[in-house]
Symmetry: C2
Subunit: 135 residues, 2 copies
């Protein structure tokens, strides 16, 4: 899951923020995203591993936020779901006998690294609460 991971996770977290006192079921959440509940549970597993949510098994179980939405920033969500941003790499290893092939990935890395810093700075300025308040 690459393209949808961040979007799905932030969608889940927004719902949890809107209902901070309820354990929401994966089925309910899936209904809002229009996604298979199993995939929702998979993203929730990731959120649990990062101690962002807690969930309760069994009847009337579900998931709820375990952190203060004003303290969690989009940067952290980004890092939990995307690792890093960039404009990609050629799939195959470039020719190491060519001066350009030899250094292209290194130079792209440097470029993307700077890009990440800028994007991170932006995302760090937005809390989950801020984002949720837009709805």
């Amino acid at each position: 899951m690459i393209s949808g991971k961040f979007a799905i996770t932030i969608h889940i977290l927004t719902l949890l923020t809107k209902f901070p006192n309820d354990f929401l079921s994966s089925e309910f959440i899936a209904g809002s995203i229009n996604l298979n509940p199993v995939l929702v549970r998979k993203e929730i597993a990731n959120l649990k591993a990062n101690h962002i949510v807690e969930s309760k098994e069994g009847k009337n179980g579900g998931t709820k936020l375990a952190v203060d939405s004003s303290k969690l920033t989009l940067k952290e969500i980004f890092e939990m779901t995307f690792e890093t941003i960039g404009l990609g790499y050629a799939k195959n290893q470039p020719n190491p006998d060519c001066p350009v092939g030899k250094k292209i990935n290194q130079n792209l890395d440097a470029l993307y690294s700077e890009m990440n810093q800028k994007v991170s700075a932006q995302l760090e300025g937005i809390s989950l609460e801020d984002f949720s308040n837009q709805f």
Copy 2:
């Protein structure tokens, strides 16, 4: 082609910048990228459509830069190959009857739009010449 398009295009352009007086064949370029020559020609077709390179058919044909590498910025290359950056969307249309589902994509759009502005500003400051000089 999503992940590799920018990387491949900038690799091609770097080679062309390094050999500004030669028509380089797709086979030669493919050898540096380690990519099928047909895919190189496809990216070159895109560059041609944007008047960045010119190419010559027939024997001893190939491609050469048609612009001044100090005038072309990475922003333009980005726009020719990537359109826009972002952290993706859930694949299916979210539930329009849910307040969150109804506005999630719109709010993501706004977030990604700001992200693009930051990335564009960064890329605008780097010319193809600058990039090529790193090799």
